[in-house]
């Protein structure tokens, strides 16, 4: 299977691992008979979609699966100090043996550094704890080592940072602190459970590079759990693909990416590679030169507020003088990282939020121009028939207490355009348009999966035959294989229904696939906008360059993150205010 077959190179040998939640027939087989090997100093990526059991696999190794989860069988031979190996599966989950391995020889970092670190203990306290637990040193020495570790993970000013609390750190810094903590005792294996999923793409790139670099210098083996094939391509030496608790395929990065055999693996890779192309170019977009919407100097300012302790916060500019046009038949993408103001812009444009200044001019079907920023209730209600929204979270956006028919029919009923039998017919028709069976009408949202719910959300948006749809991260809550399906559905609908879209997303791939034009947002401003093809491959603004280059690719032979472009906001401050 691979070149390193000698036992001495193997650090962890997992065989027929089974971890179930519950017992008997009702047991959920989260990990169902999987086997894999980890090599010293190498990175193994386990990739899979939600519910595939990848996280439970990682936690099983340290025996920290939340109850009622329990290891039901199999072995996990760990070759650490003892060349004969220890079977981790046989150790008592509360016993001394496993505890002396946790955090000492095998350590772990988690997805959400904010909640994975204690909110009321200092970072230093939590790092020192690990050191004191496993090494025979005094407090002062532990503190010195902790500061050194923080410096090692590139946290600025570690002497001060060590006494700070989690909430005083930024997201990326928290994950760095978490890594520092996991390195405290020079572990042999680092388990990283989706460590970059909660982070922005530029921060993700930095954390990935850091892990890679530390791995080399510490000689650790890394078990990296992720759902993102791009991340896998960047860091994996070996890859295991999981689905429904089973290991479908296992092999070297080369084998998986270029010679995958299992159709599911192929589908996973395809759905990511698909997003490296432009569907608009392929389908031939029909952008007109008629302006549908003009966003003029829109700002959103949250006024100064004194906080709990009486210190005034300065006013916060979520949107700073944003101007953009949308043309009929066009798909405009708005891309940016968290806090860039992209979602605020989407909400201001449709007046879920009110603008602090500026105009949002919309040309209605009858030719009138409506300013959404100032429209009254009546006018707004008319405009809302033509501009609709598709929301990010398909679970939160459908009222769980209404049937699908009621949800999709609600705008029709309220507008008074359809009643009785006509309403039912139209609802059925709308559901058919998004590929849902008519039988869905009497059912409640809890009967449907995330992808199906998002389709229902789209049907609701289409109910009043809108002309512009604002899709706010409409695909980001979905698994990657569903993502392109939903995007294709939107594009199909666009072909028949004379629609335009504003797609708000943090995902460059989605933007590239779906949009004609892109506006890049950073700290409330549009720093660059232009054709999607240009922005996504050859941007001008240094921030966009950094953003684009931080996006992981899908070719292990061409690791992009190592050669990424870094953007220093402070140094670029002049450019930003000048734009």
């Amino acid at each position: 299977m691979n070149t390193a077959n000698q036992t001495s190179d193997i650090i962890l040998d997992v065989r027929n691992l089974r971890t179930y939640f519950g017992t008997g027939e009702k047991a959920v087989k989260a990990v169902d008979d999987i086997s894999f090997k980890m090599m010293r100093g190498k990175t193994l990526c386990i990739v899979g979609e939600s519910g595939s059991g990848k996280s439970v696999t990682a936690r099983s190794i340290l025996q920290i699966v939340d109850p009622p989860g329990k290891i039901q069988g199999g072995s996990m031979m760990y070759y650490g100090k003892d060349p004969k190996g220890v079977d981790l599966a046989q150790l008592h989950e509360r016993g001394k043996e496993i505890r002396s391995i946790r955090g000492h020889e095998i350590s772990m970092i988690f997805q959400e550094p904010m909640t994975s670190l204690s909110p009321i203990h200092t970072i230093g306290n939590q790092i020192c704890e690990t050191i004191l637990l496993h090494q025979n040193v005094d407090m002062a020495e532990a503190r010195t080592r902790a500061i050194e570790l923080l410096r090692r993970v590139e946290i600025p000013n570690p002497q001060v940072a060590i006494d700070k609390y989690t909430f005083e750190y930024s997201g990326g810094m928290r994950q760095r602190a978490m890594i520092a903590m996991s390195l405290a005792c020079n572990p042999k294996i680092l388990i990283a459970d989706e460590p970059t999923t909660a982070l922005d793409v530029t921060t993700q790139a930095e954390i990935l590079a850091l892990i890679k670099e530390l791995q080399t210098s510490y000689g650790m083996a890394v078990l990296f759990i992720t759902h993102d094939m791009g991340v896998v391509a960047e860091i994996a030496d070996e890859i295991g693909v999981m689905q429904n608790g089973k290991m479908l395929e296992f092999g070297s990065a080369e084998e998986i990416f270029y010679e995958a055999k299992h159709p599911y693996t192929l589908a996973l890779i395809d759905s990511v590679r698909k997003l490296e192309t432009s569907a608009r170019a392929a389908r031939g977009s029909r952008v007109t030169d008629k302006k549908l919407m003009e966003i003029r100097n829109v700002s959103k300012i949250y006024p100064a507020r004194s906080n709990f302790m009486g210190k005034p916060n300065p006013p916060f500019k979520a949107l700073d003088n944003v101007s953009l046009d949308v043309f009929e038949g066009e798909n405009l993408g708005i891309v940016g990282e968290s806090g860039s103001g992209k979602t605020t812009l989407g909400n201001c444009v449709i007046r879920v939020l009110s603008c602090s200044g500026g105009e949002v001019l919309f040309r209605m079907a009858d030719g009138r121009i409506a300013d959404l920023a100032k429209a009254g209730t009546h006018e707004l209600r008319q405009v809302h028939r033509e501009i609709r929204m598709v929301f990010q979270d398909p679970f939160a956006s459908l009222n769980p207490r209404m049937t699908i028919g009621q949800i999709v029919g609600e705008p029709l009923l309220v507008a008074g355009t359809h009643t009785g039998e006509a309403l039912r017919k139209r609802t059925e028709e709308l559901l058919a348009m998004v590929g849902m069976p008519a039988g869905a009408m009497e059912r409640y949202p809890h009967a449907f999966s995330g992808g199906q719910r998002q389709r229902i959300g789209i049907a609701r948006a289409l109910a009043l035959s809108p002309r512009l749809i604002i899709a706010d991260e409409a695909t980001s809550a979905l698994d990657v294989t569903l993502r392109s399906q939903v995007l294709d559905l939107l594009l199909d609908l666009q072909d028949t229904l004379n629609l335009s879209f504003i797609l708000v997303s943090h995902d460059i791939g989605v933007i590239r696939y779906f949009c004609d034009r892109v506006a890049v947002m950073y700290k409330g401003q549009v720093v660059e906008h232009g054709p999607a093809e240009k922005i996504c491959s050859n941007p001008d603004h240094p921030y966009t360059k950094a953003l684009i280059s931080a996006v992981p690719g899908t070719h292990p032979r061409d690791k992009r993150i190592v050669n990424r472009h870094r953007y220093d906001a402070a140094a670029a401050g002049i450019q930003l205010s000048g734009s």
């Binding site: 922005d200 879920v352 679970f395 009222n399």
Partner: protein, 385 residues
Amino acid sequence: MSAENKQATTVAAAAAAEPAAATVNMANLRGGIEYASQWELMWARFKKHKVAYWSMMFVAFLYVVAVFAEFLSPFDPEDPSSRTVYQPPQMVKFDGFKPYVTKFKLTRDPETLKPTYVDSDEKTYLRFFVPGFEYKMLGLVPTNLHLFGPAEAGEKVFLFGSDRLGRDMFSRVIYGARFTLSMGLIGVILSTVLGIVLGGISGYYGGKIDWVIQRVVEFILSLPTIPIWLAMAAAMPRNWPPHLVYISVTVIISLIGWTHLARVVRGKFLAMRGEVFVIAAKLDGCSEGRVIFRHMLPSMASHVIAAVTLAIPSMILAETTLSFLGLGLQPPAISWGVLLKDAQKISVISAAPWLFLPGVATVLAVLAMNFFGDGLRDAADPYSH
């Protein structure tokens, strides 16, 4: 990104949620779980909670007792008898299928003249559906039929013993249920109206109104309730007729009780206002009224019902406390609190511990309602796991 974040948290949730969903009893749901409305899902979930389910049955039983108090009482609760003062409770025994109790003989200590009751061999047979004192069933139908009573007219039976005037405690406890339980219910209705209106205004409009209402709520919550109740109840003129006292005691109790409900309603409104499906409803063109009544209230209703159920016990406890101190209902009105007032003196309760029975009734009622309310609250959100 928060988006990615949510996705990954659902990963963890999914594993835990699946078995939970699977255990909902599908057999009880018409057309299967996919077609089940929130009330059907909640009912299925509530029924799994056995203690809560039986508590609900018990609460229902208590209210039936309160409604049919006259029918269920063998004797007029005000009917005194000097020959049966402080008679101990009698146990029901069976002679084949015929229920009976053994009579107590009253003897007096020749020196102290203290009455003592001695068990005798004489039997008083009991029968179902016997004629007794006249009353109007449900306040409408005049009748003298009672569920049970002594087979021979003129005999007496004291299942719960008798009080200092020789009145039947069993009948008095049943009558007491009427005042105490109805007061709990009416008090909670008043509280709910106040709580929903003020909490709703506070939560929906926010801003200055919210600030003012919240300060008022905080203010009331920080006051020690019993001293304030005492002061308010003491302000009632002594000579008020019973129904006026009844109403004002209820009002006094609910004046403090609404604050908790207002908090629940406000909290729900605030949470609901930001819900994506509520924003979606606004974008669907719904008017403010429709957003509230069609989209928000159905999601809150179950939570409010649970909170209301949990508020009844504190009303009942308040009534018994006030009446016990002589500041609530006054005799001849009969409530559990009024009955317990007779049990104030240690000398009395040592001699006649069955005077605690109204207290037992209170505790059982409150216990059942707490279990019932807890079960409702747990079932109130059928979409969480």
